[in-house]
């Protein structure tokens, strides 16, 4: 199948960059919204390059940033009512507490394929523009707006 003009430009970028995986080379840059993340780990399972992994620590301060109306927001509201002071640092997460693990993103291993964006059920992983010469990011963002890639 012949490459589109955009695909050809990205392929040229890849050739210039040489072998190896670089952030965003395959078409999108991953942007994280930690306040929306529920730590389900689907992005970790979906990531083909191992750029995402799950942490053994959870920062309670992340709860307070969760939007109201979500399960995390309700949890934060309940915790806020009984809290005596602001959360003190991250807490260890037990083995079977799968949904409270932080997600670690290693930008150096990210290929920008967007698999994590498709896998994310809450929209906590989103796509941002890629810095590629000759591509109008404004037009690209407008075209991609509303789509989940």
């Amino acid at each position: 199948m012949p490459l589109s003009a955009r695909g050809r430009r990205i392929a040229d970028e890849l050739v210039e960059a040489g072998p190896g995986v670089r952030p965003g080379v395959m078409g999108c840059e991953v942007v994280q919204h930690e306040e929306l993340c529920v730590g389900c780990g689907r992005c970790v399972a979906a990531c083909p390059t191992g750029a995402l992994s799950q942490d053994d620590w959870f920062d309670p301060a992340q709860l307070y940033a969760a939007p109201p109306g979500t399960g995390r927001g309700a949890l934060a509201a309940a915790l806020h009512r009984i809290a005596r002071h602001a959360p003190r640092g991250p807490i260890p997460v037990p083995e079977r507490c799968l949904t409270f693990r932080g997600i670690i993103f290693d930008a150096a291993r990210c290929a920008g394929c967007g698999a994590c964006i498709r896998a994310c059920p809450t929209g906590a992983v989103a796509a941002g523009p890629v810095p590629i010469a000759g591509i109008d990011h404004g037009a690209w963002a407008a075209a991609e707006a509303g789509s989940r890639l």
């Binding site: 949890l75 309940a78 009512r81 005596r84 640092g89 079977r96 507490c97």
Partner: protein, 154 residues
């Protein structure tokens, strides 16, 4: 100030636990249908006296209880929350009680991080036939909560 007035002044602050104040406390107990609820039912049939602070909630499995349930109970008026499920390795849904154990450990760490006593939350395991253990755990939880001040809410 008379002793009665003094008691009325200190009680709302929760610093001093008067005898009447202890009876007004609420402890929410999430009981698993397969084991702990049967044990509680047997204790009830035997007319064993239980602490009046305990409020039981039947759940299919302790694995159903999420940190949100526990924190909501605390935020809405409970002074303590405990889960009672099957013995380890005997969960009727294989690993529900193990998930619950880890979630309780997580909630304890979360409470500790914001300055609330972790002892307000606990998890016990028991077999369906062990109603004396249900009574013992209910009384021990009641005593733990009676020693703590009332939970302050904003």
């Amino acid at each position: 100030m008379s002793p009665v007035e003094a008691a009325a002044t200190v009680a709302p602050d929760g610093e001093v636990a008067a005898a009447t104040d202890v009876c007004e406390r609420k402890i929410v107990a999430f009981l698993c249908r397969e084991c702990a609820y049967s044990a509680a039912d047997a204790a009830g049939n035997a007319r064993t006296p239980l602490p009046t602070t305990i409020r039981t909630i039947l759940v299919p499995c302790t694995g159903r209880v999420s940190p949100l349930h526990v924190l909501t109970a605390l935020a809405e008026g409970a002074d303590g929350v405990y889960l009672a499920g099957c013995l380890e390795g005997q969960c009727h849904y294989r690993v529900g009680n193990l998930h619950a154990l880890d979630r309780v450990a997580f909630v304890k760490a979360l409470l500790d991080a914001v300055g609330v006593e972790p002892a307000r939350v606990a998890m016990f395991t028991m077999s369906a036939a062990d109603s004396p253990r249900f009574v013992r755990t209910a009384r021990s939880m009641h005593e733990t909560i009676a020693r703590l001040p009332r939970l302050r809410r904003s």
